[in-house]
């Protein structure tokens, strides 16, 4: 098999790994998977953390190694890079659609400078109303905040713009 085909197969295997905390998203949808290269027989996978303290990174690395082993790649090196810093702007449209369907409001707009007391406008993932309010800036994972819809009264998770 030529190198480009191998690389494509390796990418597909790595890209099939889902985020352990939001399993509806793959690490490719999230923008955590940055690169897959073939160096001889070795697959070199580059990933980047969403937040510095993201506890899912170790598990993602193990899952990548497993997925590649299943696809027939025995030699895998997973490298973590910090730069450029991960941003929700890298999330694919497919990923945003999947989040919404799952009941998590996708990041609203693009990541920019935040004013000291600024706040995003977030639409309810269930009824679509923009009449929503923030319950807490921090949620069950680093990347989410807790919101509530004032129209349908449902609480929901919001994937923060970052």
């Amino acid at each position: 098999m030529v190198n480009a085909d191998l690389r494509e197969r390796a990418w597909a295997a790595a890209a099939s790994v889902s985020d352990p905390e939001i399993p509806v998203l793959s690490i490719a949808d999230l923008g955590v998977l940055r690169d897959v290269q073939m160096a001889g027989d070795v697959v070199e996978v580059t990933i980047t953390p969403t937040y510095s303290g993201c506890p899912a990174m170790n598990m993602i690395q193990v899952d990548i190694e497993t997925a590649l082993a299943v696809a027939g790649f025995g030699l895998v090196q997973v490298k973590t890079v910090l730069s450029p810093a991960w941003t929700t702007d890298w999330m694919t449209q497919d990923g945003r659609d999947k989040l919404l369907e799952y009941g998590i409001a996708p990041p609203a707009g693009s990541a920019g400078r935040r004013a000291l007391f600024g706040q995003d406008v977030v639409a309810c993932p269930r009824c679509g109303s923009s009449n929503t309010s923030r319950i807490a800036e921090f949620g069950s994972t680093s990347c989410k905040a807790l919101w509530r819809c004032e129209a349908c009264r449902e609480p929901f998770d919001y994937f923060k713009c970052h």
Partner: protein, 259 residues
């Protein structure tokens, strides 16, 4: 596997610089983690734990880099767990006990109001790794700054009781803010070469944020006065040893433990 029970401080100025910032983040992160299962509400429980996680994550990147620069095989855990108290060079502010919620939030605010412009400026560091760590950290600290600011407003401009507590916290913690701007002799060359930022250049912005938030919280901005110092030189308050009793307990009981 056995491991060294005492890991010496690094000798390289760059490694020491990274280590001091790592110590600030680790100790403050550990303090916030002490709130786990004790926070006033479930939402605040998650907020404090999230902020702790951000800071401990930042410290891991900085400790790893210090080990890489020093080049003697030290890993992040060696620096985090196996140094003597005197070899930790965090500022005294971050080792202050949590006190009540007002003290915790004011400590967080004082730190974040500095760390936010600090990491923004460090994104232009001539050291590529520090610049990369800065780009991640500034985004995370922005949340800490906003979260703590909003709490200061609610506490200061809230009930008589919450106002009194925040006012007392201000008297207690203000004298620990001077050390945010301390520069050690081995840092001057790093500042001149553009690796590090001169903290004095951030003073205007820090004071601006503090004044704005305190005034909106109906509290007067203190001015100057005598300031505690010593943490950056390894002279700590009695509180840090008690923190280590928890932080270092497992790695010292079971050297080389992994999980």
């Amino acid at each position: 596997m056995s491991a060294a029970l005492i890991v010496e401080a690094p000798t390289s100025a760059l490694a020491r610089y990274a280590l001091r910032r790592a110590d600030d983040a680790l100790i403050l992160g550990h303090r916030l983690s002490e709130w786990s299962a004790m926070a006033p509400t479930l939402e605040e429980e998650m907020a404090l734990s999230n902020m702790a996680l951000d800071l401990i994550g930042q410290s891991r990147s900085l400790y790893s880099y210090a080990g890489e620069v020093e080049g003697k095989g030290q890993k992040e855990d060696d620096f985090a767990y196996m140094r003597r108290e005197r070899d930790y060079q965090n500022i005294l502010l971050v080792e202050r006990p949590n006190g009540d919620f007002a003290q915790t939030m004011l400590r967080q605010f004082f730190f974040a109001a500095f760390a936010y412009p600090y990491w923004l400026a460090m994104m232009r560091s001539t050291d590529a790794t520090l610049a990369a760590i800065a780009a991640k950290s500034e985004k995370e600290i922005a949340y800490h700054l906003r979260h703590s600011s909003e709490w200061l407003l609610r506490l200061g401009d809230g009930t008589e009781e919450s106002h009194r507590r925040l006012a007392e916290a201000l008297v207690e913690l203000w004298p620990y803010t001077g050390e945010l701007f301390a520069v050690l002799p081995d840092e001057t060359a790093l500042i001149q070469s553009g690796v590090a930022v001169d903290p004095d250049s951030l003073r205007g912005e820090w004071e601006g944020s503090v004044r704005e938030v305190l005034e909106r919280a109906t509290l007067a901005m203190p001015s100057g006065g005598w300031m505690h110092q010593g943490g950056r030189e390894g002279r700590h308050s009695e509180h840090l040893g008690h923190l280590f009793a928890e932080l270092q307990y497992v790695p010292r009981m079971i050297p080389g433990a992994e999980w």
